[in-house]
Subunit: 129 residues, 2 copies
DNA sequence: TTACTACCTGAAGTTAACTCCAGGTCAAGG
DNA sequence: CCTTGACCTGGAGTTAACTTCAGGTAGTAA
């Protein structure tokens, strides 16, 4: 797959794809003889995973680079990699809790707005013009 | 309450508190005769709300400034303000969904790591040293 | 009076994570 | 052969949201 196709497929700009590769956020992508990127299935899986973790979960780039680097070092980094994921999973769960409680707070506030607005309408009706 | 106390209470730096006020993210704080901030109960409520919406929910500063500006314009902006909140509530709910599905994906990946690690250990035992 | 501390302001600096750009290569079509 | 279009690189520029700084004031303690 060309970079244009991958960009289209994952809705990431070509610049972003090259940037991710440059900083090691995805492993080096396969190239053809004239140096042009040709994404394999494997490359695409990395893009998918990284997009999900970055844009979906907002995990920090630094941590993901570390993860990718470890992945490229083979099987004796399995434990470490799992550790990283477990840690981030924890963070994510916390974040979800926080967002959920903020959601409730917003709901509360919206509810109060509704009360206030209703009250105001009633008052207005009692004093037309 | 002095800015130092408010900073302590909400765990926001004094600089951040002044910054929030300067850009209109919270309404102007009450001052004493020599120009020093003295936060009222009301001021603190704003700080609390804004901290929650920014750090807790990550709502954009721009939108919050608009909300605060509207609040200071009185009752005929009630509907508009409610609209803003409802919109952000929607965004937040979406975000939570996204994070939750990413969490599941992470769980899946962690599970697979466990499998792989177990498998590797077994293999090692069969071929000691 | 002098020194100290907390506070003030406007402006410049920082950080993360892209995003854009200038200048260059390469293969294909006319 | 020449042009066109997709792609390449290294490096500079951008954006949001703070954070730091230089230079100044005001109240208080020795």
């Amino acid at each position: 797959m060309s970079i244009a196709e991958v960009s289209e497929k994952f809705n990431l700009s070509q610049d972003t794809l090259r940037y991710y590769e440059r900083i090691g956020l995805i492993p080096p992508v396969h190239r053809n003889k004239s140096g042009i990127r040709s994404y394999t299935e494997e490359d695409c899986k990395w893009v998918d995973f990284i997009k999900c973790m970055r844009q979906g979960a907002g995990l920090p780039v630094e941590m993901l680079i570390e993860y990718v680097t470890l992945s490229r070092q083979g099987d004796n980094t399995l434990e470490t990699r799992k550790g990283l994921l477990v840690e981030q999973r924890g963070r994510l769960a916390e974040k979800i809790e926080e967002l959920t409680s903020t959601l409730l707070r917003l709901d509360d506030k919206i509810e109060r707005y509704e009360q206030t607005i209703l009250l105001k309408e009633k008052t207005l009706k009692q004093q037309p013009e």
